[in-house]
């Protein structure tokens, strides 16, 4: 049993050794703050830092009550060691959002590590909508996609009913 444990230890050790000496690090800016937008929306650029020793992939996820109308581009960024990359949070308020309302946007940057230690950094932003919409509201693409699928299904049902009705007559 002891010999087996000894072997297991070395197996573990050598499995983890190639990356084990790497320092891992993360940061995000702005990590706090307030932004004013009109109901036309806007964008917030987040700088995500790799303060570790290896090039690594990073993601940015959004939560908070502003997440209903916020998307992030790109989904994932490879950031070189000791360098930084940029994510853009695009704020596109829905019709339900009103002038004078305040929302919270929480952006969490995460390093996609292959080791056993994970790191993340969180940003908490307050968004205030100070002005009215100046451009017509644009429905999200998903809305038009679902609308198209719905119309297609209705037409298909009408077509099937019509065919059945016609075949029944004859």
């Amino acid at each position: 049993m002891k010999i087996f444990n000894f072997l297991l230890f070395f197996l573990l050790f050598f499995l983890l050794l190639p990356r084990a000496f790497a320092k891992i690090g993360i940061g995000i800016a702005p990590a706090s703050g307030s932004y004013n937008f009109t109901l036309d929306g806007g964008a917030i650029d987040f700088t995500v830092y790799n303060t570790g020793d290896s090039d690594m992939n990073y993601t940015l996820t959004i939560s908070g009550n502003a997440s209903n109308f916020t998307t992030v581009e790109p989904k994932q960024v490879e950031i070189k060691a000791k360098s930084y990359g940029t994510f853009r949070a695009i704020i596109n308020p829905t019709k339900e959002v009103k002038e004078g309302e305040t929302y919270t946007l929480i952006a969490i940057a995460t390093a996609l590590t292959t080791g056993s230690i994970g790191v993340s950094a969180e940003s908490r932003i307050t968004i205030y909508f100070e002005g009215p919409r100046t451009k017509p509201y644009e429905q999200p693409y998903l809305f038009y996609l679902l609308l198209g699928i719905g119309i297609a299904i209705i037409l298909l049902i009408i077509f099937i009913v019509y065919r059945k009705f016609k075949s029944g007559k004859t």
Binding site: M1, F21, K23, I24, G27, A31, G118, V119
Partner: protein
């Protein structure tokens, strides 16, 4: 009698003309003197432009202005640029005080015979501009000196974003091997070959750091796992206690360190993390893997 009068009149006219000429000569001589004393006009520094006006710490920014001298732009012989954040002291070269002293990071572009456009670049390869540089309002100044020692300056402001960040010395740590039922087996973190994984404050303001853990799942047979509650963590300094001391993981984020200051230049604050493992029983003999995650956020 008439001839004498005429002669007198002609004499008066000649005297008047001579007087006017002499006065003009005197006046022009005076003008020459005045021009000579006005030769050393001081330079002027125009409006400061900082790009971008809101900057994330450690990223590149530029400070620019038009600098003029009525004696000709060649009379300007030195440009210095400083940027100072809250609490910083000018010309001290630290996290809160950046500078370029007439160096190659200041680009001079000719605009006219009397004016330069000067543009200073600040990045992490020079000075002490880093992620730890203080957040808030910074004041940047451009100083122009001419060959006669006359000088001028102008200033502008920018905003440096808050930054929350951490780094850990080891990306992977391995628990000491044990038999089912063994308790308090500490992890080893290969970077330092000891029981500590050093956590470094990389931010520019006060931060909180939380810790969380997943179950350790069997690599060969994932139906076997070691629950996160079998691991105990603690913030350690110096020697690690021989027996486990700290807090069992709960499956949710727990405060690892709160209200953590960034440190005093040039030292970043740092602390250590140690985790101990209790081997449950029964336990299938295999390699188990999981994640322990540290997360930073602004206080």
């Amino acid at each position: 009698m008439k001839g004498i009068v005429k002669l007198a009149l002609v004499g008066l006219v000649i005297a008047a003309v001579l007087t006017i000429l002499l006065v003009q000569e005197y006046v022009s001589a005076q003008q020459v003197t005045v021009n000579a004393t006005a030769g050393n006009a001081a330079p002027t520094v125009g409006t400061i432009t900082i790009t971008p006006s809101t900057v994330s710490p450690g990223t590149v920014f530029y400070v620019a202005a038009q600098v003029s001298d009525s004696n000709g732009k060649e009379d300007i012989i030195q440009i210095n640029v400083s940027c100072v954040g809250s609490g910083g002291v000018e010309w001290t070269n630290s996290w809160d005080s950046l500078q370029h002293l007439n160096d190659s990071y200041i680009n001079w572009t000719s605009v006219s015979s009397t004016t330069w456009l000067v543009n200073a670049t600040f990045n992490t390869s020079v000075n002490y501009w880093s992620t730890k540089s203080i957040n808030g309002t910074w004041t940047c100044k451009i100083y122009a000196n001419d060959s006669s020692g006359a000088s001028a300056n102008n200033s502008g402001t920018m905003t440096v974003n808050t930054y929350a960040g951490i780094s850990l010395y080891s990306e992977s740590c391995v628990f000491d091997t044990g038999s089912p039922g063994d308790t308090g087996k500490p992890w080893g973190c290969p970077t330092t070959f000891n029981r500590n994984n050093t956590v470094v404050h990389e931010g520019n303001t006060w931060i909180n750091v939380t810790i969380n853990a997943t179950n350790l799942v069997g690599k060969t047979d994932p139906s076997w796992f070691i629950g996160y509650g079998n691991m105990t963590w603690n913030q350690t300094t110096g020697e690690v206690p021989t027996s486990k001391q700290g807090y069992a993981f709960t499956g949710s984020s727990m405060d690892f360190i709160t209200f953590w200051g960034r440190g005093t230049y040039p030292t970043s604050n740092a602390t250590n993390a140690t985790v101990w493992l209790d081997y449950p029983t029964p336990l299938y003999l295999q390699t188990y893997e999981g994640n322990i995650t540290f997360s930073a956020s602004v206080v």
